[in-house]
Symmetry: C2
């Protein structure tokens, strides 16, 4: 199936049927998320994977009672951004760059100087910036799932503070940003499955300068 | 080519060769961006398209002197998020929903009530939320370009305030968030073209709960 056809067929599944998606497809989605670019290449987040039913139920009950796709999905991903960009984090990142790329010390130093600026910013600025990067990766996950013919839905409607406490995210320098449920739709109970897609027109959305 | 192969081949092109990409591929990328989901479906942004060379040069000189891919790209997209979510914007959106979907008035009202909450939030909260949504669309653009074998690069390193003033974005209730350059790499001068990709390992990025 081609890209645009796949994207037209995907929709925000609000009720899944509890069945598992194939492991190979799930791994492809994770790999696409891993390959997503981020500003300065830092990938300032973790992606938490929830397959355990009791934990999905708990997240649904405590943090996202309006989202019945959570207990019925196959895999729930939680995109959790770093709250603070630390010097340790940058040290680790530069070790990775040096292990991967044969770059002159001068170029590495210039790059490091730009990145050091992040450490001096406030936690709020760091988190806002890191959170934005998770949405690129979410986009990669969404397109991948569509191309693989799987149902998926991004979820912003949850209490981040409740979820962070439930999973001890703050202690890990993380804050939950979005969730992403993957699975197979419940054909009968998913109200959204039969609705036509609502999107602004090309003429509205794009402005040629 | 398959998805993961395409994503492995894409990279942040820092120098393009000034040639145009095929119009059909460009339109496919725009359509993918248009189909990207957003929170509550609002698509609170515009995507500005710059093909004019003089304007690309001006943006490079005034707002993004560190980004030589801007004057050398084929098409520059600017993702500009809405600064304030207004009641008029919601009215327009609900007209679109009603024209597209045959929904019961009760369901529409409940949905509208949730969305009205956005209008009561501050401009800063609105903009931060809207800005995040543009990154999903950016992700869709990035994957599409990779699948189509085009070079592309997301750009955060520019002065948003200078760009906003240059394009009178504030007056249009918009604020620039990211740019996205599409084109064909300059094989010789693009330092990035030959470097291996740096990405955190699967074991680091993903945490199974």
């Amino acid at each position: 199936m081609n890209l645009i056809e796949s994207l037209n067929q995907r929709y925000a599944s609000k009720m899944m049927n509890g069945t598992k998606i194939p492991e190979e497809k799930f791994q492809t989605i994770l790999e696409a998320i891993r390959l997503a670019p981020t500003s300065l290449g830092l990938q300032p987040f973790k992606v938490l994977i929830v397959e355990n039913q009791a934990l999905k139920d708990k997240i649904f009950e405590k943090a996202a009672p309006g989202q019945p796709q959570i207990p019925t999905c196959s895999h729930l991903l939680i995109f959790a951004a770093n709250r603070k960009i630390t010097r340790d984090m940058l040290d680790e990142y530069f070790e990775l760059i040096e292990a991967t790329r044969d770059l002159p010390a001068e170029k590495l130093l210039a790059y490091r100087n730009i990145m050091n600026g992040l450490v001096d910013k406030s936690e709020e600025q760091n988190f806002n910036w890191a959170a934005r990067q998770t949405y690129i990766a979410l986009g990669f996950g969404l397109v991948s799932a569509a191309l693989l013919g799987l149902d998926s839905v991004p979820i912003e409607g949850f209490s981040a503070s409740v979820l962070d406490e439930l999973l001890n995210l703050k202690e890990q320098n993380l804050g939950s940003v979005t969730m992403f449920a993957l699975g197979n739709r419940d054909e009968e109970k998913d109200y959204n499955a039969k609705l036509p897609k609502v999107r602004k027109s090309k003429e509205y959305l794009f402005v040629k300068l």
